[in-house]
Amino acid sequence: MSTATESHEDTHEHGMSDAGYIKIALILAAITALEVSTYYVDFGPLFLPSLIAMMFVKFFMVVSYFMHLKFDNKLFSLMFYIGLGLAIFVYVAALATFKFFM
């Protein structure tokens, strides 16, 4: 990242085919359907962890495929994930002081 030797071609021709994106979208749709089903079907003790897990899967799928972080320069990932990581860290810590998680 400190040198100017990054090849120029792949900054534009990255990502996947349209069909690939549609596949991703279908997976996202399926996960959303599963999420919504928690409203109708009792998941028992799995309710909370499964919802959180599905949320993260969706989040990272959109971020890595639709937003190209998986294919793009790692610097972009760095910028975004520092922000995301700090956000999770500071707010989880702050909420913990309110006995949020008990």
């Binding site: 990242m1 400190s2 040198t3 520092i82 700090l86 860290f89 002081t97 309110f98």
Partner: protein, 661 residues
């Protein structure tokens, strides 16, 4: 600036061409006089304006501080009423942090960061101008409150619920909230701009680990800003909605928890402390090596400790809240984390001392301020360690001991660092040397005044004088000659000595402007890229983008090690180095053209904010201006099209650099 690209217009006959009819909203191309400053996108001009704005607010905040010290010089002071005093200390803190500390660092960053990395401008020149104008608008909103019913009176930390409409009935807090949001937006935009600049626009060969340390520290600071400003924005938005639109966020009768504000504020507020201090660290990390004639000791350690301070700085905010009932587990965790942050800070101090070790120290005023920082910051840092011990902190927090601590850090640290920067870089910016004799007066008065003002505050605090009190009473001052009354008086006297020191700086500026010595090309035998150009630099900074091979590139172009004697021998003068660059000047230099939009956009945001206080119509007007300017901006190319240059240059698109005198 496009001036240099323009042929002399006087000789060209006035031809009626379509381009001239643009008249109305024609973009500025070649401008002069005040327009040259108002519409500029040149990072150097913007940097100078940042500095001027910050210096102005430094004086404003300083006057507020003097009034505070006058009030407290004797028991039951009557200079200020309780209400005025509360406004005074609130605005003193706010002004010094948001309108002096951050903008002054931004001034240095703006001016020197592109120069230090060998760039012609920042990545987004118009956004840079926008940041400046937003800061100005924010500062105006904040200070307008003095004339519109009273300034904010809840302290710069503005704890809820004391900031609510019932407890602070004037509009002061509203202006404060709005002003800070605007100033915060300015910093956010500025920080994104500078990060992109540093990462993307370095001169060939300048790897990250060959960047000047000042640039490194600024980079860390910008990351802190990018990630901490949104948090205060959330807090300010909540407060604004509470005050202006009836939200309930801090309404305890609904079950709210006022500690929410404190967390949001300090999650921002602690990184903010490093935002203030790290630029000063960066400055003296340039000054100390230059005047010791040695490279910075342990450059990678200084870099990593700076980054570590930045990162850990996000995990220690609750140490501002040790007395606010977090519960023992949280207190213990944050107490330990706070101690941990002392380690990288200590590394920095040791590295500075070891930089000077074995050096050849030249005591210029810049150097004096730098070593002033090293010593005074050490004192402030050590009193900081006593705060990290949470139980002790419950005796110290909210007393004058804290006031002493952070003034040693922020005045002894930040302000001394910035003054060091003034004296070091003044010849670079203005081409004239600040007077060293006046500088000496400036330095010694500030050192004496600062220690007299803030030193006794340690005693005042440990003996139980709380801060933020508009009066103190003789009944609690204790007995003996050295009672609290004595030390309060000493502190007040000290503050005026301090003010006299600052006055000498102002005198020095005027003196230098009038009959200052013209600066040589390399007055300090300096080490970094910004000196490989003229004083002051040309509009395009460098005739040729320098190619970098070393840390301290400029020094290594002048000196080489004599392998026989193991000493450094000079084999080129600065003039020769600069000449070599000029001779190889680039033929085509495209610089971004000036633009109205940053100014108009900032104005729009200002009007929009006033709408929160003065009603929806004002807000609509502001929004209209805002939207108009955003799209005007987007549709305007950053470099003016040739047809917009009026009249067009003779031979179409080729713009040669005018010869440099």
């Amino acid at each position: 600036m496009a001036i240099i690209e323009r042929p002399d217009t006087a000789t060209v006959p006035a031809v009626v061409t379509p381009s001239q009819a643009f008249g109305v909203i024609k973009r500025p191309v070649a401008s002069s006089g005040w327009r040259e400053w108002l519409f500029t996108v040149d990072h150097k001009k913007i940097g100078i304006m940042y500095g001027a704005v910050a210096l102005f607010f430094f004086i404003v905040g300083g006057v507020e501080a003097l009034l505070i010290r006058l009030q407290l010089a004797a028991p039951d002071g009557r200079i200020l009423s309780a209400d005025q005093y509360n406004q005074m200390f609130t605005m003193h803190g706010t002004t010094m942090v948001f309108l002096f500390g951050m903008p002054m660092a931004a001034a240095f960053a703006n001016y020197f960061l592109p120069l230090q990395i060998g760039a012609r401008d920042v990545a987004f020149p118009r956004l840079n101008a926008l940041s400046l104008w937003l800061l100005v608008v924010g500062g105006l909103i904040l200070n307008a409150s003095w004339f519109l019913g009273g300034a904010a009176d809840g302290g710069w930390f503005m704890y809820a619920p004391n900031s609510g409409p019932v407890f602070s009935p004037s509009n002061g807090v509203d202006y404060w909230v709005l002003g800070l949001q605007v100033a915060g937006l300015a910093s956010l935009i500025g920080s994104i701009n500078l990060i992109v600049t540093v990462l993307n626009m370095r001169a060939p060969g300048m790897t990250l680990m060959k960047m000047p340390i000042f640039t490194w520290m600024i980079l860390v600071v910008q990351f802190l800003l990018v990630f901490s400003l949104p948090v205060i924005t959330v807090a300010l938005v909540l407060l604004m909605f509470q005050r202006s639109y009836g939200a309930t966020f801090f309404d305890v009768s609904q079950g709210a928890d006022p500690l929410l504000w404190q967390h949001l504020f300090w999650i921002f507020g602690h990184p903010e402390v490093y935002v203030l201090i790290l630029p000063a660290f960066g400055i003296i990390s340039e000054v100390l090596p230059t005047f010791s004639r040695k490279p910075l000791f342990g450059y990678p350690f200084v870099v990593f400790s700076g980054a570590a301070i930045g990162l850990v700085g996000f995990g220690v905010w609750a140490h501002h809240m040790f007395a606010s009932g977090l519960g023992p587990v949280s207190v213990a965790v944050f107490s330990i984390a706070t101690m941990a942050i002392a380690i990288p800070t200590g590394v920095k101090v040791f590295n500075w001392l070891l930089t000077m070790w074995g050096g050849k120290i030249w005591y210029t005023t810049a150097m004096k301020f730098a070593i002033g920082l090293v010593t005074l910051f050490t004192i402030g840092g050590l009193s900081g360690v006593t705060h990290s011990v949470a139980p002790s902190d419950t005796q110290q927090t909210d007393t004058y001991y804290i006031v002493a601590h952070f003034h040693y850090v922020l005045f002894g640290g930040m302000v001394f660092g910035l003054f060091s920067g003034f004296y070091y870089w003044w010849p670079k910016v203005f081409g004239k040397m600040l007077n060293e004799k006046l500088g000496s007066w400036n330095f010694w008065l500030m050192v004496i005044g600062m220690n007299m003002t803030f030193g006794p505050m340690h005693i005042l605090g440990l003996q139980g004088q709380p801060r933020r009190m508009y009066v103190w009473t003789e009944a609690r001052a204790g007995e003996g000659f050295f009672n609290l009354g004595f030390w309060n008086l000493i502190a007040s006297i000290g503050s005026f000595i301090l003010a006299a020191g600052v006055l000498f700086f102002l005198i020095n500026i005027v003196h230098t402007a009038k009959k200052g010595k013209v600066a040589p090309a390399d007055p300090w035998d300096a080490r970094t890229l910004e000196w490989i150009t003229t004083n002051p630099p040309k509009p395009h900074n460098f005739d040729r983008i320098p190619v970098v091979h070393h840390l301290d590139e400029f020094f290594h172009r002048k000196y080489a090690e004599d392998t026989a004697t193991h000493t450094m021998k000079r084999y080129a003068t600065a003039e020769e180095v600069i000449k070599a660059e000029e001779d190889a000047a680039d033929a085509h230099i495209h610089l971004p053209s000036p633009s109205y939009w940053p100014l108009v956009l900032a104005l729009g945001i200002g009007v929009l904010c006033m709408g929160v206080v003065y009603g929806v119509p004002v807000m609509v007007v502001g929004a209209a201006i805002l939207v108009f300017s955003v799209f005007g901006w987007v549709l305007e190319p950053s470099t003016a099209d040739d047809s917009e240059i009026d009249p067009p240059s003779v031979d179409g698109s080729t713009k040669e650099i005018a010869p440099i005198g």
